[in-house]
Amino acid sequence: MEDALVKGEMIEKEVLTSTLWLDVWKRLIRNRLALLGLFLIVLVFLVALLADFIAPYDPIKINSQTMARDSLLSPSFRHLMGTDLLGRDVFSRIVYGARISLVVGLAAVLLMVIIGLFFGAIAGYYGGWLDSLLMRLADVFFAFPYVLGSIALISVLGFGIQNVILAIGILGWPSIARVFRSSVLQVKQSDYIAAARALGASDLRIILRHILPNAIAPVIVYATMSVGGAIIAEAALSFLGIGVQPPTPSWGYMLSESRNYIFTSPWLMIFPGLAILLTVLGFVLLGDGLRDALDPRLKE
């Protein structure tokens, strides 16, 4: 009897401390694919953070004395992923390249989320001609092919990692705005928004306190997946030579360099390609898992 009582209390306590985000977390880690995604992302983060300790060689410096001897070595214990034309260790370059990819991916998505949330909130909350105007503007942005748009923007802004981030962010906001707008439209119908208005809450308060927390979930999912997209965009731009400039190690640029040696030194292509693939996969899987975990219809 007493045992049962104690048990009952413990269950009660667990219910008390479980907030909505804790529920989401619990559902997320029950999903194996999402867990794999999370694992990949954490791995890339750790590699990027601890690059100085992980990389066995300098990723940038070219040693003119040993360059000829070390050029295009195939993978071995000394060089796990082989060496490139200039005799640099591919593994070290990939380790440092993780920093570039993550910084560009996260910063670009942050930028597009900020712009997208702002316009999406205005379009969804106020509606009417403002909504029409902003959504047509979004259509204009959608009409640009990603790469072409970036090339145009970068040719205006100039080279450099910050301009790559800017270009990807500016071209990516319309999707976020669309996603957020539609979820704002849905939340706006709720009685608790009417209640807040009846209490005399300002528009800003209603948007920040009531709409944002309830409408943000799809944006979180979309943004997580977009990080992968932004990493690919950076790689594509670097591949084309207008992204991150050498000698800074970027996975995309490494791929670009490997073009001429695909048959003779395939490791130059395989490893940066794998790095991009796994990182992007990580974000996509996590995004997918988040979508399931955040879906209120699955709520028990």
Partner: protein, 325 residues
């Protein structure tokens, strides 16, 4: 004595629009079509009618959630129909609303405490400490426990959620509370508790209610006067006892005859009025009385001209050419 709230010839039409950029109005729903009534200080006015008759729209117009198409609303003798900005915000302290659905009327990302303190924060009640004390007081008044403060809406039952909604509505000490079917989403066993709570709070905080419902027995329990609405217009308005003992409008009679009697023997023998099916088109043009197509008493005159709302006895208003039996 001047009434606390006075609604004069309130009209709310919703346009039916087609097209996104070039809007064409293809019709209009006359949700509220010229309604007048008043509420005295400390009084409860029941507003009943079938779903879609416009009773909720009236409530929302009074609280300022909808802008009336025409007509006027006076509160405390000042015209509040089209208030904006600061004035509008100040009025929120006086007129509040309790919603029908306790599941969608509470923000699921806020705790009970946060929800109840919101009106206090918006209207700058005082320091965090003062707000919290007030919120705990309010929670006690509506029958919630202190430990409910930091729980989220999904951890409460429907009845408890409605109590949170009620606490939020009375937090600013309003004079008028619009209760928009506050019990119709609740289990029958919980309804009585919430109704008793509303009665208790009315005494304690000197509130006046506009009590909107489709449930005649609920309205009877709470109201001093009852207004019956049909397709956007009042058809009968009378004191509570009068209306229930002597309904004059055929629609009211039909509504009352639909209320089941607890005694099965009486229930079986009782005569019931069964109406012809209702109108599905609320936007249509009426010729004559709007209840006429469903009325068993309809005569030629009913099709030609709509009757006025007339005071047939003292304080008993009816819109019918053939009131009574």
């Amino acid at each position: 004595m001047e009434p606390l709230l006075k609604v004069v010839d309130l009209v709310k039409h919703f346009p039916i629009e087609r097209g996104t950029i070039f809007k064409r109005q293809s019709g209009v729903v006359k949700a509220v079509d010229g309604v007048s009534f008043d509420i005295k200080e400390g009084e409860t006015l029941g507003l009943v009618g079938e779903s879609g008759c416009g009773k909720t729209t009236i409530g929302r117009c009074i609280v300022g959630l909808e802008r009336p198409t025409s007509g006027q609303i006076f509160f405390n003798n000042s015209d509040i129909t089209f208030l904006r900005g600061k004035e509008f915000r100040r009025l929120r302290k006086e007129i509040q609303i309790i919603f029908q659905d306790p599941y969608s009327s509470l923000n699921p990302r806020m705790t009970a405490g946060e929800i109840i303190s919101e009106p206090l924060i918006i209207h700058k009640f005082g320091s965090d400490q003062k707000v919290k004390e007030k919120v705990l007081d309010l929670m006690e008044s509506v029958g919630l426990k202190r430990e409910h403060y930091s729980r989220y809406p999904h951890e409460f039952s429907g009845g408890q959620r409605q109590r949170i909604g009620i606490a939020r509505a009375i937090a600013l000490n309003p004079r008028l509370v619009v209760c928009d079917e506050p019990t119709s989403a609740l289990d029958v066993s919980i309804q009585a508790q919430v109704l008793n709570l509303l009665v208790e709070l009315k005494e304690k905080f000197k509130l006046s209610y506009l009590f909107i419902s489709h449930d005649l027995s609920v309205v009877r329990y709470l109201s001093e006067r009852v207004a019956v609405m049909y397709l956007g217009k009042l058809v009968e308005l009378a004191e509570n006892e009068k209306l229930y003992s002597q309904p004059l409008h055929p629609y009211t009679q039909a509504l009352l005859s639909a209320v089941p009697v607890p005694d099965p023997n009486k229930e079986r023998k009782r005569k019931r009025v069964v109406l012809k099916s209702g109108l599905s088109d609320y936007s249509g043009v009426f010729s004559g009385c709007r209840f006429q197509p469903r009325c068993w008493k309809a005569k030629d005159i009913c099709q030609q001209k709509e009757p006025d709302l007339e005071e047939i006895e003292a304080n008993h208003f009816v819109r019918c050419y053939f009131p009574g039996n």
